[in-house]
Assembly symmetry: C2
Homo-oligomer: 350 residues x 2
């Protein structure tokens, strides 16, 4: 598998499937357009899946974990060891993503893309480690360009394995102490914005911690000078292994015609990398929610995505994506399962 | 059963259950507050159900149907017979509410509160008809004060029967050609607003139809002079049988300590009646969504409710409530099912 091959395999959506889905929505026993975003979503899913009445049965949340050298700058409210501790929590089924994935009938695939320590092998854990945490981006590149490509390729391979198992929709999730700092830096680089316009308080850093976070991002951008026209350069210099992996998940799913429900701030930074590398990928992405995190709305605007939910979430892990997947499934069921005016003997609009 | 008895039985929420739920949320393996509205919702549900870790298993959407004499004024895009046709569609399982209720694992209870024609008995249909459609409110009262009380009592009885069967949460839904006109009139009367501030296009009436709708509401308010301090007077003069029934569902559920997920514009008008009659009822209500319908946001503000979703829905039937119920269930599962920091061996915030 090489990156060029994946990028060139992402096709525009199937317009005839979308037209057929739209025509069917207008025949279902409800006023036209009265299911709002659910109707739009069903039409997008028809286009992605190339089927006028798509169905979503098998669902997976791919939650990727990685550590960040920049945590040494004191940018997070939690110590670095929480990344691996939370991976263990995911594998034991006790985290929020486990509860919400069970609620919506999705599996959780936990992927070690670059946690700083070795995690003992366990069922449900995929070891795709590109490195033992990134380097401190405030002092130099977070990773090499080769590692950036590798993280994307490994993410694409993970999702393609899932698709071979029969998955219909993929949700993205993340775990990594320090990764709102890296994600904000990615957004600042690609959008050419200053850190204070984008960075928020992540897991709940205090005022002084927030200032350290802004300073770390400023230094990372100044020291590394990531090229906004070169997403691989941005990922390498100020990104993270799990962020690259999630961009790979999005590109890999899009190249196989599967929809991706993107979670919050970190997944959206990954989406910015993916869409910069392959603009047609955008059509395969659905934004689950707008988070509490400061610049998230602007990042979604930059991508041209409108979030489904605004529930003041700021947890990550794929929690918002799990909720969003339930809407995607509902949208497909509406399209396929409702009676038409003719079938139900209901009078149409006069 | 009498109305005074129901109203006086609505107690404030259980503060100790809420305190315990809040304390538990802060021990779960996530940054404090990072699940936003889901955390708030779990705490409210704890208070309603008097249980620090409430659970939602049995779910019902109560969809109430009624006809409206005001349709003769040309206020709707659809003919009146659609009300009974859609009731048949609900019973056959082909409507949007059936699809979404199945998706979230809820039953649908369909109640004829006042459809203009007789509907043949069928499994799943409750005949609680108060009358064969309301009178034309543009020319006089929609119903008598006695009928207004009766519609509320019948609604309360329906929900209390459901609660005896073991229901944990109730969603409200409506069907009734012309009922956005009646609902807007209720809101105008209680909020002392003009029709153009509140009324929207309902099922999709055109510009001329919209003007006829505004005119009908204006005449209804002028001819009947509903007393904003007397919700029964408002319901009788400009309401509807299904709207009274839904107010009864809310009051009946609150009096038995059960949460109510309210749907869109019509359910919100019913909530305004219910809360006017018994202000403590408000704490038992959860707004599922803000609809496309013009004044809905202002009505929710008046009630002091913040909607969970904004998906541009404007269908009614309980469709938004079904989606909202899934969030309530998720919120309870988070509270009861996540591991604590101690249980999972995860380091807390430093």
């Amino acid at each position: 598998m090489n990156l060029e091959h994946i990028l060139s395999n992402i096709k525009p959506l199937d317009q005839s499937a979308m037209d057929a889905a739209r025509a069917r929505q207008d025949q279902l026993t409800k006023p036209r357009g009265s299911l709002g975003r659910l109707e739009d979503l069903s039409i997008q899913l028809a286009g992605i899946m190339g089927n006028a009445t798509p169905s979503i049965r098998e669902k997976v949340i791919i939650t990727m974990a990685g550590d960040h050298g920049v945590t040494i700058e004191g940018v997070s409210a939690y110590p670095q060891e929480v990344t691996s501790q939370m991976v263990s929590n995911f594998l034991a089924g006790g985290a929020a993503i486990n509860v919400l994935a069970r609620h919506v009938g999705a599996r959780v695939a936990v992927v070690d893309m670059g946690v700083a320590t070795d995690i003992p092998p366990r069922e449900g854990l995929l070891n795709r480690k590109v490195g033992y945490g990134t380097a401190n981006m405030a002092k130099g590149p977070a990773m090499t360009r080769g590692q950036a490509v590798e993280s994307i390729l490994r993410g694409a391979q993970v999702v393609q394995d899932e698709i071979l198992r029969g998955v219909d929709i993929v949700g993205t999730g993340d775990m990594g102490i320090g990764n709102t700092t890296a994600s904000a830096a990615i957004a600042c680089a690609l959008m050419e914005q200053s850190p204070s316009e984008i960075a928020g308080c992540g897991t709940g850093v205090d005022h002084e911690g927030y200032n350290r976070k802004l300073s770390a991002i400023e230094r990372a951008l100044r020291v590394n000078r990531p090229d906004p026209k070169d997403a691989l350069d941005v990922l390498a210099k100020v990104g993270g292994f799990e962020i690259g992996g999630l961009a790979g998940v999005m590109l890999g799913a899009a190249s196989r015609g599967k929809p991706v429900m993107i979670d919050g701030f970190i997944s959206t930074a990954a989406a910015m990398i993916a869409v910069s590398l392959a603009p047609p990928c955008r059509e395969y992405l659905i934004s689950a929610h707008r988070s509490q995190e400061h610049g998230h709305g602007r990042m979604l605007d930059w991508l041209g995505l409108t979030p489904l939910l605004e529930l003041d979430l700021r947890l990550g892990e794929g929690t918002g994506a799990a909720l969003g997947i339930s809407f995607a499934e509902a949208a497909c069921k509406i399209l396929a399962g409702m009676a038409t005016f003719g079938e139900a003997g209901v009078s149409e609009k006069r």
